[in-house]
Assembly symmetry: D3
């Protein structure tokens, strides 16, 4: 059973709208190696888990649960980056295209026109080239060493792609989330690497992938200085066997793995204003009045 708390797993600083950055981040949400895929892959692996090596099930599921929060984080980030990008200022009549105006004209030269035409300046379950997410991405062979090897590779690809996105934009909203995910994908590489070490592999100097001095990325450095790349939570309301595996020196030699029972404190959830040029939320004054009568004014 799953539960939710109204806190983001990491803070999203605000900045100017940036639809190009938003579109690049879609790869990290709905791409073949994005958060929707890791979330679904690890959930399926834990639901279908076989055998009594339940430490591995708990290890996989700990990451799985975290990935749901990553989906929330990156979707919210994309939504924040898109919000307000048309720069529409409603006039008195408050009718978006009144008199034949074109407040959404910019949508035709943006990364993905669907952000404005299908969604309402919000995240979509697609990649940065517009391909919808597919269930065929999910890998769950049922063979544990193989599933772990695949997961390791997925996390390495995730970090690689996010490092590339980092190099595409310096928007601080985008960078905050991307840097956080770079560090968490690093941690997840170490998690799955550790699981395979328990089965006898010695990784030598292979990790992290990609190999480079990530501390040159200022936002990443800040998080690594806090040891975030070595830490793992289990995100459970009950017990977890994760700690039986997630111990000892990390596979990249950067320190000791750090299991924490307490989840991160989290950050407040940003609110998104109405965007009437999108007819969103599209409540008429009359509807709002009815609703107010029913429930009182919103908090």
């Amino acid at each position: 059973m799953f539960f939710h708390q109204k806190r983001l797993i990491n803070e999203i600083p605000s900045s100017d709208p940036d639809p190009a950055a938003a579109n690049a981040l879609q790869e990290g949400l709905g791409g073949q190696f994005g958060e929707m895929r890791t979330m679904m892959q690890y959930l399926f692996q834990s639901f279908n888990f076989r055998g009594d090596a339940l430490q591995f099930k708990d290890l996989i599921q700990a990451v799985a649960i975290e990935e749901i929060s990553h989906v929330e984080l990156i979707a919210t980030t994309i939504s924040q980056l898109l919000d307000g990008s048309p720069g529409y200022k409603p006039n008195g009549s408050a009718t978006p295209g009144a008199g034949g105006a074109t407040p959404l004209a910019m949508a035709m030269s943006t990364g993905n026109i669907h952000h404005y035409l299908v969604g309402a300046q919000g995240a979509l379950p697609v990649d940065s080239a517009g391909n919808p997410w597919s269930g065929s991405y999910v890998y769950n062979s049922g063979n544990l060493p193989l599933d772990l090897l695949y997961n390791l590779m997925v996390e390495a690809t995730g970090r690689l792609q996010k490092c590339r996105i980092y190099e595409m934009t310096d928007n601080p909203t985008a960078r905050a989330t991307i840097s956080y995910l770079i560090v968490r994908d690093h941690a997840h590489q170490l998690t799955f690497a550790r699981a395979l070490e328990a089965l006898g592999v010695d990784w030598g100097k292979l990790f992290p992938i990609p190999e480079f001095d990530a501390s040159k990325y200022p936002e990443v450095k800040e998080l690594m200085d806090k040891g975030l790349h070595l830490r793992q939570h289990h995100f459970r309301l009950d017990d977890s066997l994760l700690g039986e595996l997630f111990v000892g020196p990390a596979a990249d030699g950067s320190g000791d793995l750090d299991l924490q029972d307490e989840p991160p404190k989290g950050a407040p959830m940003p609110l998104s204003p109405e965007r009437i040029e999108e007819f969103s939320p599209g409540l008429s004054d009359e509807m709002k009045k009815m609703m107010d009568e029913l429930v009182g004014a919103p908090a």
Copy 2:
């Protein structure tokens, strides 16, 4: 931020393996109107929510969080139904196809050969005809009345399809989960119907869809007798505004809506044995020994 508890949202009774039923249930998991879709659709709608009518956001998200537990429930059910269906009994040598034997021969005449060839007698993110789940299923227009109307329709289609699955199989494992989801889809119809009532709609006698005497299904009757079709939890670790909307008489005239802060008590998670004819989990004796040395014998 999301959290997990090692309890299933409803109990899964055990029974004989039944791959045909498992395949029919795939529609409820990975089909266009299955639980993966409702989960993702409502999550995206809540992540991209606009405006200050936050009762609606909390209403949508309450159902969203529950749907993740439904994905867990139905995936686990499918896994249980598939488990052991080849009827393979390892001989002394414990090598599945030893001497050229064919322990997986039944896979060639089953609903979806991928259950044995790609997965290891476990659930897949596909529908009952084998199509992978697609991100294009997710609907999130950003227009609140429209999103609510669509959600209502999705829940009605979900209940319709699950009633049809009920009529396809009398396997008790399959029926337990299908009946539970019939009743919960009923509840979710009432939830979204209620949200639209708050915006002024009077549904007359339209609900529930499909219209029929569901109490003739014994497993469904048992759950409805407990009022499960009128109840909604918020599945939050903090507060929810759901209660401001989810009050008063249900749209189908069957009673009063029943908001509960406490989630269901849940049921124990079944364990799945190794299936060596699938090389799952595929740990060698040597690997197990290494692991035991590391962590002690598993619980």
Copy 3:
């Protein structure tokens, strides 16, 4: 602008339900070389037509319009073949799965379970292997000789596949429609072959494809004896230039092309009964009463 008449382009004799035949016919409806594709391909070619050789536009569009009626014919045939295949006889209580019964059990061992789970014993826009129809099937290069060559090939493939379906089933309902379409695909081969003859090609003995003595198929023979493979209507309420091209000896040497202004007389549209095991149409007694009050008893 398009119009409709409540007549089928060819008669569908009734017979026993036959879901396997229905599924084979799906290839002719929603397959890569089925009627949805020819319809859409020729419609797009006529909408995007360039240049003043308007005889070719009218030739392509004449076939396009006919294909819409073929979609209607084959969809209705599939619907008729599926109708009643579960053999469900409602008992007094008229609740399909009452007491836990499984009236749709046969759906789990049929060609496409979606015929019962997603649709209500009706045709689907998919092929015989369950793949949904795709817009990528439509070919419209804008180069007229090339479009004609492609159309010719599509019609030849259509006839080939339908001859193969003919050999799969002797169900008279299926055969009536398949045989009609074999003959019409033959006629369309001659139509496009003729258009390319007008551009200078001499086909020798290539047609029809596949080459064989089709008069050995009794149902096909009957239609060919009437000259249906040589005939073309324009299906227009106004004028057509088709006749300027569709004249002279047919490319297969079987006779003279026969342009007819009058469309076929057509056949009555079969009615489909309620199927309550599918909750179709799902009107409650109360709804029916309301409707009767509104409009009087149905005709």
Copy 4:
């Protein structure tokens, strides 16, 4: 059986080429909520219709037939918007890339390069992000109230998306068709809303969706002043029972529903010139001479 008339259902004014607008309109043609989808969805619903409430069948089919003409209208509009956009002026030699020139260079920075590379400045069966249309869009549950509810939602989404497209471009060719479809989607909302009213629903102030003062769009106002949002034709050459349902006050309170037996008068079909930089139609002088000998000069 279907028929055609060489008239467009609404007039398309000519304007300068506008490939960006053309691409936005692709959503209305080949998008998940575009005209190809409504056309196919309603056709399948009418082909598979069950039960004796044939007024509903005729209501659904009336809209279905109209949608084929909408596909023709919007495809032709896109074709007109693309036509001539490369601005190629053939020189004496009339060979497009003669001497190594690049008359199609603009295709590399346009909305969808396929408009020039795969098609010949013509409409494609894809959405505005380039995804091909899919048969999985078609919804036909066989449960009548549910199908009507879904259709209502599709029409509301169609109007929403077209209002957004209206705000993206002020090209008069694009706007004429988009405004017409906004008004017709409005009418279709009222049509399906009315059908559900006959089953007992009272919609309150929900319609039209999206809620706003559409008369601020000048082109839309002109059509609504004529009452086009309240009108429905049956597009049949024989009788229709549509009138038994389509009567009385409209669900949005804007007036009385207006059934008309006579279809719109329609508008002339524009002709598209040769585009030799696309090798379209690609008839050589020799081919034209052969054809002229055969049929005489074209009309």
Copy 5:
């Protein structure tokens, strides 16, 4: 530049037709982890290779070239297994459905009806559940350690799936090819494992995946006894640097890697007879006569 020799890379013994086995083998041809994918993945990786560590390029390309021959081998095997499965014996008239007969009736209850309806008892580029092969399967990140890790995982999954197919059928034609590919996937695991050893990884006891005593499969044992799991050819007409990496003890401890300059001797290519019930090849007597006049009687 690529070249071909009319020899199969391994022998295919003949046996009775076996369409179920043919369908299972489709996973190994057109599945997500089948030979078409490894072929394309390694070809793209070698075409896009960066940097001067050309030993790795040659290593990847050596396997890539071999995979083209594997595609040929498994496609030919599927074709052989399907050939003649309808059991059609042409009568005197040699017209397949003469008199209304149904020689292809078995196609409706086979694994994939497309084998008879779309193809002519031949292999298709689809997986065992009928999904067409997709370019999205190809992984080529450009990061060499990551690409090698992914390739290793693909080969392990390939061997896993082929072991499962082995357990599904004892058809000797199917088994010959499956066993050969089990051994070659084993060899390719060792190849990519070796490449990563050169970068510093020590695999411990991880290989081969899946871990089990494969010598219990008689057909596999025979090939392993010849050392085929340790051997690699470069399949080049010129030089290769593969030997600089492919040396020393294998990662699974089973012996020394064995580089061979000479490719396998190969086996004769089976011929497939005409199948007139499929209209294949569909040459009329007249066409054959024309052809004979042109080229003389076929060899």
Copy 6:
């Protein structure tokens, strides 16, 4: 069995990076009518070939083998066009995004962001609109005249699309490969046209498609002056029956078909430098040292 030689089938001159041209060329690689499709289509047709008209098998396979080299040629061309397009110059620290720099910023406004985010400035198996290649493109009906007719049409479409690409860019690297493929598609048209002539067709003046004076394209003229459009190799290490069919005057009247046993001499394979902003190849100094110790310095 297949073999490879380290020579490109045609030379690729170097030029400045040109990502827009690279993206247009993707249509020729991974598009519905690109080289991957012809390669796969003809390979499947030859693997599944039926009957004893083996000249046709050898004719189809000769083109098939050549197409693998075309895939290599166009993939390498795309890779060359993309290489270096970000213009990144590593600074002393050699960390791509050091200090928060954005060396890949240009990726967000390029044809396909995946060229930089998913690949490392290399070719992808997708078309110019970003759609992944699909197995559903492959046509292999098993009916020989039909397969030949389809192949002819594919080659004509290939030439049409490549002529359009020629008109989009004057980049000399792009043009060299496009012009070569225009001429080879021309030759393949003549090859399949010839095969159908052997079955009795007289093509008149239909070829080549598209019809125009291609000698006005300077790069094409140069190749046609050498007779490359009339030539065919068999690319076999053993014998071929191609010559029995590929003789006599070409179907376009431009000369005599010219069979050559010797393949083209080929051109050297360009090398691609490391791109550290892509972490490609991503070998650390330590890894390089290990490798050097193992194999000595690279050649």
